[in-house]
Symmetry: C2
Subunit: 444 residues, 2 copies
């Protein structure tokens, strides 16, 4: 392909990406259901346009988009998985430009979903588009693009079960993970799992005057703070009984590989804007955020949060928690132990309800397997550099589901950079990685 042709193809790809990013396909918020659905329609049109047979499949939640070429006996079947839903964009006031009005600056595109995951899945679609423009594909291809990844892929498991035959494949590729640094191709061999819960502590039936009642009845905000404070010990470990029982220790070669990775604590501070590193004693920052489990408060609220003051005892208080899990922790068992712990430590005078949310299993594969080594070769060919082996801290629960339902391993070929700000304001994706992704997809 000549330089001029390539530029035109890349320009078209960027125009596509801008369209794709404009849909506020926030899966957790029912107010965006129509946007999410229209985004799925856009994908079907795009995939059909490049010559695939594409369909939108309804689920009890958001639809799944599936596309395929004409399959031929004897060829290996590759499934490329991605998601078109995105995280909520708030806090909106921290975005330099609106999250759903993509902006390009110095070769980087800024928008909610640019990295996670629209930019990465669209890179694969464009890789396939270019390959198809030159002839038939050397593989049977399936695109599986869902709209519920950010809410725990709640309906995808059932969809896989129901379409087990149609989705039969030899290997799955996902680009929803990160590169350790710009230009460093990265093969992710492990992911953390997740388990979510919401706690609600209730006391008086209405907010009370804190002068009239203060001192004689329990304050739900105080009780919830005391309860949340029992989640960790002073060494930064999770203090829930049995929390670490099934945690697999890091192998020596893993600790060595982690130690070799680029990225220092200073980089971590600069990327996160945190005042200090902090975590479980006895582990490096890389190990803490990839191979060790956590209990995080994602948000809490109680009583008066407006301007000025309001002298009340709040009637209730709530907190949203997620646990990040590592092999061989089981989300259901961890949520049970967490609930037992919380009930045991509930301060007097209030009531507690625990509402379990989405969950996903942790994942670990052997990077030295045949497929693992093929993926590393594709990465090396695309980027022309040694491939880093990492575990990632995020969760793609569907990876474990693929293994369970379809019996297939997944290759995690990340294109996200460390400063991509996934889930944060000003999420961004370099166009260079977008185009490299298309190239990688062809190599694969």
């Amino acid at each position: 392909m000549s330089y001029a042709q390539s530029t035109t193809a890349e320009d078209h790809a960027v125009a596509d990406l801008i369209q794709f990013l404009k849909f506020p396909s926030v899966s957790t918020d029912p107010a965006h259901n129509a946007d999410t659905d229209q985004c799925a329609d856009w994908l079907v049109t795009k995939l059909t346009g490049i010559g695939l047979a594409a369909e939108k499949h309804p689920t009890p939640g958001h639809p799944v988009v599936v596309a395929r070429n004409q399959h031929k006996a004897g060829l290996p079947t590759v499934m490329i998985y991605g998601h078109y839903d995105v995280q909520p964009a708030d806090p909106l006031d921290l975005w330099q430009t609106p999250p759903f009005e993509p902006r390009i600056e110095n070769g980087v595109i800024y928008a909610r979903g640019s990295t996670d995951n629209k930019g990465q899945i669209l890179a694969h679609i464009h890789g396939v588009q270019q390959a198809l423009a030159e002839g038939e594909l050397p593989v049977n291809l399936i695109f599986l693009i869902e709209g519920e990844e950010e809410i725990g892929s709640v309906n995808l498991g059932a969809f896989l079960e129901a379409n087990r035959d149609a989705l039969k494949c030899d290997i799955i590729a996902i680009s929803d993970t990160g590169m350790v640094a710009k230009g460093h191709p990265t093969f992710t061999y492990g992911l953390r799992g997740i388990a979510a819960a919401e706690l609600r502590v209730t006391g008086p039936s209405v907010d009370l005057h804190s002068g009239i009642y203060g001192g004689a009845v329990a304050n739900p905000a105080t009780a919830l703070a005391q309860l949340l404070a029992t989640l960790h010990d002073k060494q930064g470990r999770v203090a829930i009984e049995g929390f670490y029982d099934e945690v697999r220790d890091l192998a020596e070669w893993e600790r060595e590989a982690a130690a070799k990775l680029p990225g220092t604590d200073a980089d971590l501070l600069s990327l996160s804007g945190s005042p200090a590193v902090y975590g479980e004693e006895g582990y490096t920052s890389t190990e803490r955020r990839t191979a060790r489990p956590t209990a995080e408060i994602n948000g809490f609220g109680s009583g008066y949060q407006g301007e000025g003051s309001k002298t009340i005892i709040p009637s209730k208080a709530m907190a949203k928690l997620t646990f990040r899990l590592v092999p061989d922790q089981n989300p259901k068992r961890i949520l049970e132990r967490a609930e037992n712990h919380l009930r045991k430590h509930l301060p007097p005078g209030v009531e507690l309800s625990v509402h379990c949310g989405h969950s996903g299993e942790p994942y670990l594969c052997d990077p030295h397997s045949t497929a693992g080594q093929a993926a590393q070769r594709a990465l090396q060919a695309t980027f022309g550099a040694e491939v880093a082996l990492i575990r990632e801290g995020g969760s793609i629960p569907i990876v474990q589901t693929f293994k369970d339902v379809l019996g297939v391993e997944t290759l995690l070929l990340g294109l996200a950079l460390p400063d991509c700000r996934a889930h944060s304001p000003n999420e961004n994706f370099p166009l260079e990685n977008f185009h490299a992704g298309a190239k990688m997809s062809r190599h694969l």
Copy 2:
């Protein structure tokens, strides 16, 4: 006055009260500044209309309304204090009818401010109106009605200083406290003070992806919960070093008087809707909420509080605190000790800022003084029943300021019932108490 005349006067009074309650004069919220100002104008018109010289005095915040009759040498000067500002009305969805559209049902008026304090101060105005309709008053009278009581009377101290001569008086009367039960006249000889602070804990510069960063940086929500949990010990006592140093023990006669009051723990639970009583060991519920100091969380917030989940490490967390204080605690000193405590217990990896809010001194007077006994006689004459002696848990910081600046004692002649829901949804005031208040004002 004949029965017919009385009914007409009472009907007019109720119509006035409805007008007064319609102003959403929420002093803490700048969005209501115009409403608050219009409410002050309404008062000036009302007070002028009954034959007093009334004026609205600007302050750096909300205006003060002052009204007086023609003063004569040799007569004692009585100041009646009240406030026209109200607490915020939220949570709005818990009101049976809108908070600023007064509703009368079974002789009870429901609206924000009905008890605290519009109903009570307007009862005094109507008592004076009736007395003036019959001739000259036997006293020099000053009405002092401010618009910042619910935000700590921030500008009233300076106003008193600047108008010390014009406001010179022999005794002050306030109806902003409660009756121990319906039909039980109540003389309040003590009030708790207050000290407010807002805590802000900051960590990363933006909300972070909890998968990518979780475990390696501190979570401000977790840190704030841990910090708030250090405020109390397991016996329900405030754990701030030195917090109780200046607390005056209850006298034996006070504990006896408290034990004689109507109102059981069962009443407390039914009024507050709390699942259980809870508080400092070694004290009764009445003592806990009137004569013992507290540390209350009035609200907190961090991260994602919307529907569903968002897997973030919040960038920041905040909590609003108020301490209720008793003699001889000093608000400034308590806030200093609280800040020292919080800084000492701040978990690693985050930053803390402490913003002190409004404060007011606790108050205690001798109910056996001459003025105290006169007030008890007026109460007994109005209600025809023995007068209960109580300390109240709420704060009217201006009472201590009156003592400091004007050198005058204050009589607390409460008309609020225990189920008035001051500061809560569905605040209400029985019209019977409204009319009794007018009568009491005349007796006084």
